[in-house]
């Protein structure tokens, strides 16, 4: 069954899809590599600070509803059936 990845806002636009299924990968770092492989430069720009592999501060990654900052960061393990969400800071309401 692999891993379900849901995208919101700029990530959804970069990908052109609301969600994708990815074959099992070891951890979040490997998942992001796989997304970059599939979606190329557009995904790199959204994920990483310019010219580095440092995740942008504005990128939120949730694994089964929990932020990876509360788990093991990019080393957070993934297994079949996990749901990963990737999105920028929320901005409901008005200005």
């Amino acid at each position: 069954m692999g891993i379900t990845v849901k995208f919101f806002a700029n990530f959804r636009e970069a990908v052109g899809q609301e969600r994708v299924e990815v074959a099992a990968v070891r951890d979040v770092a490997a998942l992001l590599d796989e997304l970059v492989r599939q979606f190329g430069e557009r995904m790199v720009d959204q994920l990483y600070e310019l010219g580095s592999k440092k995740l942008r501060e504005t990128v939120n990654v949730l694994v089964n509803g929990r932020g990876i900052n509360l788990l093991s960061g990019l080393d957070t393990k993934l297994k079949d059936g996990d749901v990963v969400a990737i999105f920028p800071p929320v901005s409901g309401g008005t200005s």
């Binding site: 919101f8 929320v90 901005s91 309401g93």
Partner: protein, 145 residues
Amino acid sequence: MPDVGIYSKGKVTLPDLFRKLRQDIGENVGAIGCFVGVVRGLSGEGERVKFLRYQSSEDAVKKLEQIAADIEKRPNIRRVMIHHIVDQVAPGEDAIYVLVAGHRRDDVFKALPELMNRVKAEVPIWKKEVTERREYWIHEFAGKK
């Protein structure tokens, strides 16, 4: 029970929400406060805004419920409603309604900004601003663009 929702345009109106709010708040409500978030015609940089396009995750309603319930359980608050439009919304159009009914005005005036701050910080809703010259997703809490 708090009353929350996410709607496309035209599916919710403020008078209807007020009517609903007043149906069962009992005889001890002395204060009703309400906040309407309206789309502005000028962006933070003074560009003319064509519209905002909102997007939400399927968890947004659950989060709205949680926030409303947290405030509604206070002893002097009787009812909290949060209703958000998630759609393409033009300047002058409403994007969010928050209503609070409580015993006294102090409790209500305290609750309203708290509710809005939590909605903006916690609810999985995003918006893209489309001006005459460009369009971008707004990262409200990541420093101003």
